[in-house]
Amino acid sequence: MTWFFDHLDDVLSRGLQHAYLAGVPLVIGLLIALPLGWLARRYKFLYAPFTAGFGLLYTIPSLALFVILPGFLGIPILDPVNVLVAMTIYTVALLVRTVADGLGAVPDHVQQAATAMGYTRVKRFFAIELPLAVPVISAGMRVAAVSNVSIVSVGTILGINQLGLFFSDGFNRDFYDPLFVGIAACIVLALLFDAVIIVLTRLFTPWLRATGGRA
């Protein structure tokens, strides 16, 4: 504990950096996954290749991605953009299927009614389909958030500033205090992300509370 309080500044600054590297891609990834998921739902022949194809991106080892990406992007390996892009790819990989399935869960008669009321395709997406897909998308976001928090720490091997650096500190010096502090901080961060997503979901789904989950 004394080690933790002595290094509080470090924990906070690395924690913030970690949150930035894991959190920003979560938002960008969602924004990219939304149109892709919509396309997969809109054109049936795209569903299988999109969900399987983007899902496969998740299997690329993170270390390999961190090493390859700078070449493609023309940036130094230590540039935080490298991590941001990699994490965005993982987020998209997890969310395309979720978004497609969430949009698909909107009942058929509701879709029909919306069309018959005279919603244009774009308006219908934002006014009807997206709000109703929020619970499913939120579940996917929670998985992606935890996954991002965990994968960002692999950046330790490249020496990118984030909580994972405590692991190498502890390992290299055979001194476990920083290791435990790093793990605890990662867990706290993941829980924070989860809490934020839950609160946002509740704000966007007032009808689920009013009806006790029936909708």
């Binding site: 009942p107 008669h109 509701v110 029909q112 009614a113 919306a114 069309t115 018959a116 009321m117 005279g118 919603y119 244009t120 308006k123 009807i128 709000p131 109703l132 789904t205 009808w207 009013a210 009806t211 029936r214 909708a215």
Partner: protein, 372 residues
Amino acid sequence: MIAFDGVTKKFPDGTVAVDSLSLEAPSGKITVLVGPSGCGKTTSLRMINRMIRPTSGTITLDGKDTGRMKESELRRGIGYVIQHAGLFPHRTVLDNVSTVPRLLGMDKTETRKRSMELLERVGLDPAFAKRYPAQLSGGQQQRVGVARALAADPPVMLMDEPFSAVDPVVREQLQDQFLRLQGDLGKTIIFVTHDIDEAIKLGDQVTVLKVGGHLAQMAAPAYLLAHPVDDFVADFVGRDRGYRALSFQATPRLPLAAERTIAMGESAEGVDADWVLVVDDQNHPLGWVEPLRARGAIRTEMLHRGGTVARASGPLRGALDSALSSPSRRGVIVDDSGSLVGTVKAHEVLTAIEQADRPELADPRKPGAPAA
């Protein structure tokens, strides 16, 4: 007026859902499309607002080709009600009803006010306005569905089996309310159902479709019951069509007998009759009791309620049913306020039926001839 002119719908897999259908749905009237599943009735309905595009042929709305109109604008001018109401689960009842006016960019406060009025009009307590659809029963949801379709005051309404997913009692309430509403509003309505009884009850004009989207017959309900054009239609309108046709015949003056009555709470002992009718303090019939079996003051649970009550001004079907269903074999007839005017026996109703005119039989070559 909605007019189909040689409309065909062939799906990519080759099935022909609607085969060169031509029909006219007159303005301000209810035109019912009825037929077995696979007859293309829903497909026909959805081609009107272009949820499904016809393969060939044209559909015109007051002379304007719907194929040349912008789809979203066409749809905003057509009310649409479907089986499970299709309410938006994430929006309150009030917001659901306000959907189309908001899409049309109408004033927010004005829309709100109108939506609240509509909720009352379809028989919903204004307290429901803030609730979500899942907090409503099926019948209540369907009422909201009707209010939503009416919100922008469209001249045309499309209704796809709107009352078939609710229980029979609620269905009848919804149908009656719908007819009252239509009496006030006079919309041009296309109504799809598979239930011939519903078609006959609601339709000004009934269009029977055959599997494969062929028009079998189009006529006023009374005419349809009297003159099925072929075996298919005869079969479809059902065996008891003679009895059901009585729904369209007004009751003539019947030879009513005065009925001995007693009030609730009185004793029936000593009354010299097999059955005696119990009425309330406004002379509204409540039920029958057998004096020989009813001991002491008459209580509600002693009443025999099997008999139906018919209005003197109602159709003959009611009078006959009242006589047939009455435990005393004497059918109870009331006036428009529900007060007892007398009783009638089945053979007396039958005599009236035999003597009544049947104008629907007059000119068999004139389909759609109005009934009595």
